[in-house]
């Protein structure tokens, strides 16, 4: 019974923890401009994150080594160091976006300017990182994030023309009002939002924190393979809501109110309250994950003591890194930059950085010294290699597309 409960909890937190500010913003912008015609990019991203999150978790469970230790060992101090600089910077950008997301969600609930909420969010995130146990922070944020199921409910309440939605998703064409470059730019953004590298840093380090052994792998596989696709479905629901309500009327506003508008139309105030609660939980959870990832990446590269399983004083530099990262992130937000813009940049730069993380994981997952007889099977390697091709194409295309379209135009 308790095993079944544990399994259910794992799946539920995977669903609730899947969405972050990057998915919320990108999917809503895409929904209102392209309808469901970019659904394939989200699906591709979900397949990719399932594959590589699972792989990094398996490496962590079998060898006890988290992702950035492996990056350092495989790429050496120089290339690994360049990788660290890029990954840390992008993770910092994502952390900034997530803290901004908490503030924007609270602004939506209170009409108080988001900059006043930033210090509140900062202190709350830090307190949780400082004092709360890993398992608790992971489960609570994930379960509250489940409120976002209201997104899927809202799609049903609106009673859309399902045939039309399916046609948009399955026979995608670039809408006449948009250019091909814009279409491709947002495809890369959706892919980057789904596959953000911090998820793998967090997932593999979390496996070490929780002391996974090969026996936990079946459970983690179910969590990932059931939870992430259902989370991806919520991401598609946001795009669908945009396609149903906003696209026909040509409405484009601030991205988070753009999520809220159709939900309010479908389910009234109650649905809106549930949505905002879900958005606060999802962005808060992701802020915790990115905050931890800033500590994980740096500590693992340099070989410092790290982890929430230790007291802060037993992982001093790890905690100091997280504090400074949070302060820098909040500082960026206090300059008055638009958190939505920060988010858009963070997902595109994530796409650029994807190969830096995923290539070393694929290499080590095939190394018998680390994995013994648990190395990748042929199918996983085939899928992993194919996905890597997509990852590299997206990474190479991201910056040129950003320049051509003026960041989405």
């Amino acid at each position: 019974m308790s095993k079944l409960l544990g399994a259910a909890l794992g799946i539920l937190t995977a669903i609730g923890g899947f969405l972050d500010i990057g998915d919320l913003v990108t999917s809503s912008v895409v929904g209102s401009r392209f309808g469901l015609s970019l659904a394939w990019a989200t699906v591709l991203g979900v397949i990719g994150i399932c594959l590589f999150a699972q792989m990094s978790g398996r490496v962590a469970a079998v060898s006890g080594r988290a992702t950035f230790e492996i990056v350092r060992e495989r790429l050496g101090p120089r290339v690994g160091g360049a990788n660290l600089v890029a990954s840390f910077a992008i993770n910092l950008l994502t952390l900034t976006a997530e803290v901004g997301g908490i503030a924007l969600s609270l602004q939506l609930a209170s009409s108080v300017d988001h900059r006043l909420w930033v210090p509140v969010a900062l202190v709350a995130v830090w307190l949780v990182l400082w004092r709360v146990k890993f398992q608790v922070l992971e489960n609570v944020a994930g379960l509250l994030g489940l409120c976002l199921v209201v997104l899927a409910v809202a799609v049903f309440l609106l009673g859309p023309d399902w045939g039309d939605l399916a046609h948009q998703a399955l026979a995608p064409v670039v809408p006449s009002s948009e250019g091909t470059a814009q279409y491709l730019y947002y495809a890369v953004a959706l892919f980057g939002a789904a596959m953000t590298p911090y998820e793998v840093f967090f997932f593999s380090s979390g496996a070490v924190e929780e002391g996974w052994t090969p026996r936990d792998l079946a459970q983690s596989r179910v969590n990932v393979l059931v939870g992430f696709p259902l989370g991806g479905l919520l991401s598609l629901s946001i795009a669908a809501l945009g396609a149903i309500v906003l696209l026909p009327q040509g409405i484009q506003t601030n991205a988070l109110s753009q999520v809220a508008l159709p939900v309010a139309e479908a389910g009234g105030k109650l649905a809106l309250v549930v949505l905002i609660l879900g958005m606060v939980a999802a962005t808060f959870g992701a802020a915790l994950e990115t905050g931890l990832s800033s500590g994980y990446t740096l500590a693992q590269y340099f070989g410092w003591s790290w982890g929430k399983k230790r007291r802060p004083a037993q992982a001093a530099r790890f905690h100091l890194t997280m504090m400074i990262s949070l302060l820098v992130g909040a500082g960026i937000l206090m300059t008055g930059v638009d958190p939505v813009k920060v988010t858009e940049f963070s997902v595109v730069f994530s796409a650029v950085a994807l190969p830096l993380t995923y290539v070393p994981i694929l290499l080590v997952a095939n190394d018998p010294e680390y994995m013994g007889d648990k190395v990748n099977g042929r199918l996983t390697n085939l899928l992993g290699s194919l996905m890597l091709v997509v990852v590299v194409v997206a990474a190479v295309a991201a910056i040129p597309l950003m320049i051509v379209t003026g960041a989405g135009g």
Binding site: G64, R65, W130, R131, G303, W304, S305, P312, A316
Partner: protein, 129 residues
Amino acid sequence: MTGDERPLGALVDARLHLLSRQVLDDDDVPVTTADDLELATADGRDLPLTGDDEVVVTAILTGPSLLTRVFGGRAPRSHDSAVPWRDVAALTTVVNLAVTWESLDVTWPERWVRNRVVGRIPGGRHDPR
């Protein structure tokens, strides 16, 4: 950990199996990464080496050695921050030490941050709840 400890006398490629590996203390607390190695001849003779000299690893270097590994060049010997090789207990996919991390000179930055910053913030020395 996969596999057993490498048997005594097994062939270890320093570049592949030592450099950039995680170093753990006797309680599996991460200490540092093996940034570089200090080598010496077995009979203590100085450079130049001949083909007959037996070279042994005398210490795992860290700190400033990372900078020279990344940017090249040589740091003065007085700047070396080293874990003596006699403290090494086992080699697997990590380097296991036989001593506790607090007894090592190389962990001074960690101890400094703990004593001056993190340990002074309320709750810093308590288990997370």
